[in-house]
C-alpha cells in the first residue's frame, strides 16, 4: 500500500483495537479522533487508483477512488463520527470496537476495486454488525442476531458463488467498469449476474428478502442500531449503483418496496421496528432510482442515500433515547413524553421533517430528484407509487410515531432528557439535515454527475406543501383507526422463524405416517415381497440342486476310494498276481486285435 494513501477503513478497523487499552477522557477522545481522522482522510483524497496489492497472482485494488466512492465515503465516515458521539457515554468497549470495525468495513466496500477485497469487507460488515445486536445481551437479541447472521451468511455465500462463476468465466476478479463508466462487465442475465444481484438485494433488504432488517434493527443496542441504519443497506445501494444501474427489474422492485415499508409501518407497534420499515421504504426510492439509471436518477439515489443516512440516524437516535430513558419500546405504552423530553422531541421532529421531504429539510432536495427522474422517463405508475409512499412516510414518521410517543394519551412516564452527548449527536445530525435542505448546493457539487437540478420551484414547493398538509388532515380524521395495537405482523421472516418448525412438524407427523403407511406398503408389495420370494426360490434351488450335486460328488468319491482300498492290500504277492493278470490280458488283446 502506498505511503501517500491511507485506507480510512483499515484505519478504523485497526485503530479500533486501541480503545480497550485506554481509559476515561483519553478513550473518549480516541473514540472521536478515529472516525474524525477517517473523515478528514476521505475529504483530502483525490480520485485515482491506490493500494494495489498482488495476492496469489490476483491484483487486489483497495483504493478505487472516484466521485461516487468519495461521496459515499464522506457520509459513511461522517455518520461514524456522529454515531460515536452518540455512544460516548456507553461503558462497553466491545460495542465501540465493533461499531468502528463495521464502519471500516463499509468504507472498505466503498473503495474496493476488485471482487475479492469487496467480498472481504462485505463479510466483515455482516460479522461486525451482528455483534451490535448480540451485545444487547438479552435472549431476544441473541435469537434475532442468529437469524440476522443466518440471512447474511446465506447472502454472502450466494455472493461468493457469483464471484466464483464470474472468475471461472473471465479469469479476472477486477471490477471492470464498462464503457459508460459505472456498471460492471457482468453478462446481463448470466449466472454470475443473477447470483451477485440476489446477494445485493438481500443486503438492500428488498422484499421478500428484507425481513431481517426490522427483525434485527429493533433488537440492536441503542447506540449500535444507529450504525446499523447507515451502513448495510446503503453500501448495498452503492454496490447496486456500481453494478446494476439501468436494470429495469429494480424500478419495479424499488417502487413496490417503498409501499411495502409503508404498509407494515401502519401495523407496527414497536417504535424502532416502525422506523426500520421506513428504512425499507426509503431504500425503495434508491433501488428504484438505480433501476431508472439516468444521470438525474443516479444523482438522486446518491443524494438520497446521503440525506437518508443523516435523518434516519437522527430518527433512530431519537427513538433510542426514548427507549433508553423509559425502558419502553412499544408505542401503545408511551405517550405524554413531550412534557419531560422536549429537546429530544424537537430534534426528532427535524429528522421527521427531513424524511417527509418538507421544504427546507434534506429529504426535499434529494427524494424529489428520484421522483423527477421517474417523471422524466414518463413512468406514470412508478411516479404515483413513489408519491403515495412519501405521503405514507410523513404519515408514520412525521405524525404517527411522534404523536403516540410524545403526545397522545399520557402514559404517566416521566423520563428525563438523555445524556448530553446523545443530544449533541442528534443536534449534529439535525444541523446537517437543515443545512442540506437550505443549501442543497453543498451536496449537489459532490454528486457523481454534474447536477443542474433545481428543487425549489414554485410548483414543486406548492405541491409538496399541499400534499403534506392534506396527509396531516387524513391522519387526524382517521386517528382512531391508527391506534397502535399490541400485535406482531407476519413478514417473510415467518419462513425461517415459524415455517421451518411447521415444516418439521409436517415431516414428523403426516409425512412420516404417509411414509410408513402408503410408501411402506407400496415398497413391500413392489420390492420386498418379490425379492423375498425370489430369494426363497433360489434358496430351495440351492439346497436341492447345488448342494446335492456337491454331496453326490463327495459320496461317490468316498465309495470309489473304499473300493480301491480293498485292492491296495500291502502284500507284494497280490501286486505280482495283478501284474501277471494284466500282462496276460494285454497279451490276449495283442493277439486278438490285428
Amino acid at each position: 500500500m502506498s505511503v501517500e494513501w491511507v485506507h480510512p477503513g483499515i484505519l478504523l478497523i485497526l485503530g479500533a483495537w486501541i480503545i480497550p487499552f485506554l481509559r476515561g477522557r483519553v478513550k473518549r477522545a480516541a473514540m472521536l479522533i478515529l472516525p474524525g481522522a477517517a473523515l478528514v482522510d476521505c475529504v483530502l483524497m483525490t480520485p485515482g487508483t491506490y493500494g494495489v496489492v498482488n495476492f496469489l497472482g490476483q491484483e487486489l485494488v483497495f483504493g478505487r477512488v472516484d466521485s461516487l466512492s468519495l461521496i459515499f465515503s464522506y457520509i459513511f465516515s461522517l455518520i461514524a463520527f456522529i454515531g460515536m458521539v452518540y455512544a460516548l457515554h456507553v461503558e462497553d468497549d466491545s460495542q465501540h470496537v465493533t461499531a468502528l470495525t463495521y464502519a471500516g468495513g463499509a468504507l472498505g466496500v466503498t473503495f474496493a476495486g476488485d471482487f475479492l477485497s469487496f467480498y472481504i469487507f462485505w463479510e466483515l460488515m455482516a460479522v461486525s454488525s451482528v455483534l451490535l445486536v448480540w451485545l444487547r445481551r438479552e435472549p431476544a437479541a441473541v435469537a434475532a442476531g442468529f437469524r440476522y447472521l443466518l440471512v447474511h451468511l446465506v447472502g454472502g455465500l450466494i455472493f461468493l458463488a457469483g464471484i466464483v462463476v464470474h472468475w471461472s468465466q473471465t479469469q479476472s476478479l477486477a471490477l471492470n467498469p464498462v464503457a459508460d463508466g459505472t456498471a460492471w462487465d457482468l453478462t446481463l442475465g448470466g449466472a454470475a449476474w443473477g447470483l451477485i444481484l440476489v446477494a445485493f438485494l438481500i443486503n438492500a433488504a428488498v422484499p421478500p428478502l428484507g425481513a431481517w432488517l426490522p427483525d434485527a434493527y429493533a433488537e440492536g443496542t441503542v447506540t449500535g442500531a444507529v450504525f446499523m441504519t447507515a451502513f448495510t443497506t446503503k453500501s448495498a445501494v452503492y454496490a447496486l449503483i456500481r453494478g446494476f444501474a439501468d436494470t429495469e427489474l429494480l424500478i419495479w422492485l424499488g417502487a413496490a418496496m417503498a409501499i411495502y415499508g409503508v404498509v407494515y409501518a401502519v401495523l407496527e407497534n414497536d417504535a424502532r421496528r416502525l422506523l426500520a420499515y421506513h428504512i425499507i421504504s426509503q431504500v425503495g426510492y434508491m433501488v428504484c432510482g438505480v433501476g431508472i439509471g439516468t444521470r438525474l436518477a443516479i444523482n438522486g439515489v446518491t443524494a438520497h442515500a446521503f440525506a437518508h443516512i443523516l435523518y434516519k440516524a437522527l430518527l433512530f437516535m431519537g427513538a433510542g433515547a426514548v427507549l433508553q430513558m423509559t425502558r419502553r419500546r412499544k408505542l401503545s405504552e408511551m405517550g405524554g413524553l413531550y412534557k419531560t423530553m422536549p429537546i429530544t422531541l424537537g430534534l426528532y421532529m427535524i429528522g421527521a421533517f427531513a424524511i417527509s421531504a418538507v421544504p427546507l429539510f434534506s429529504g426535499f432536495v434529494s427524494k424529489s430528484m428520484v421522483i423527477s427522474a421517474a417523471g422524466e422517463e414518463h413512468l406514470m405508475a412508478i411516479f404515483l407509487m413513489l408519491t403515495l409512499a412519501s405521503a405514507g412516510t410523513f404519515l408514520h414518521t412525521g405524525l404517527k410515531l411522534p404523536y403516540y410517543m410524545f403526545f397522545g394519551k399520557d402514559s404517566g412516564t416521566r423520563a428525563a432528557e438523555p445524556p448530553r452527548n446523545m443530544l449533541l449527536a442528534m443536534g449534529l445530525a439535525a444541523v446537517a439535515c437543515v443545512l442540506i435542505g437550505i443549501f442543497p448546493g453543498i451536496l449537489y457539487t459532490h454528486l457523481p454527475y454534474a447536477a443542474d437540478y433545481l428543487p425549489y420551484t414554485l410548483a414543486h414547493v406548492m405541491s409538496t406543501l399541499s400534499m403534506l398538509a392534506f396527509t396531516a388532515l387524513g391522519f387526524f380524521l382517521l386517528l382512531k383507526h391508527l391506534d397502535p395495537e399490541p400485535k406482531v405482523s407476519l413478514d417473510t421472516d415467518w419462513f425461517y422463524r415459524r415455517g421451518s418448525s411447521r415444516f418439521l412438524t409436517l415431516v414428523q407427523g403426516p409425512l412420516a405416517r404417509l411414509e410408513r403407511g402408503f410408501v411402506g406398503e407400496i415398497c413391500e408389495f413392489l420390492i420386498q415381497r418379490p425379492v423375498l420370494g425370489a430369494a426363497a426360490v433360489l434358496r430351495k434351488l440351492d439346497s436341492l440342486v447345488v448342494d446335492s450335486a456337491i454331496i453326490g460328488v463327495g459320496r461317490s468319491t468316498q465309495t470309489l476310494s473304499q473300493l480301491l482300498k480293498t485292492v491296495m492290500s500291502g502284500h507284494t504277492q497280490h501286486y505280482g498276481l495283478i501284474m501277471a493278470v494284466g500282462f496276460l490280458v494285454l497279451l490276449v488283446l495283442a493277439i486278438l486285435i490285428p
Partner: protein, 87 residues
C-alpha cells in the same frame, strides 16, 4: 412546565391552535388551486399534475388508502398475537 405544555394543556389555547391549523389547511388548498393559474409553469411530466389542487387531493387519497388498505391486510392476514413467535 415547558412551552409546549402551556400551549397544549390549556383548552382555550388548544382550540385556537386547532382553528389555526384548519385556516392554514384552507390557505394551502386555495394556494394550490390559485397559484398555478397565475404562474404557468411548464415543468409537469404528466397531465394529471395540472389538475386543480392535485397535490392536496392525492395526499388525502394516499393517506386514507394507506391506512384503510394496510389495516384490512393486517386484520385479515398479517397481525398476530404479540407472543406469536415465543409460543
Amino acid at each position: 412546565m415547558n412551552f409546549l405544555e402551556r400551549l397544549l394543556e390549556d383548552p382555550v389555547r388548544f382550540a385556537r391552535i386547532r382553528l389555526g391549523c384548519y385556516v392554514v389547511l384552507g390557505i394551502v388548498a386555495l394556494a394550490d388551486i390559485v397559484l398555478p393559474l397565475i404562474f404557468h409553469s411548464g415543468e409537469h411530466h404528466f397531465s394529471f399534475e395540472s389538475f386543480y389542487a392535485w397535490g392536496s387531493i392525492y395526499g388525502l387519497i394516499s393517506t386514507v388508502a394507506i391506512i384503510i388498505v394496510s389495516k384490512l391486510i393486517g386484520k385479515a392476514w398479517l397481525m398476530r398475537r404479540e407472543d406469536y413467535y415465543e409460543r
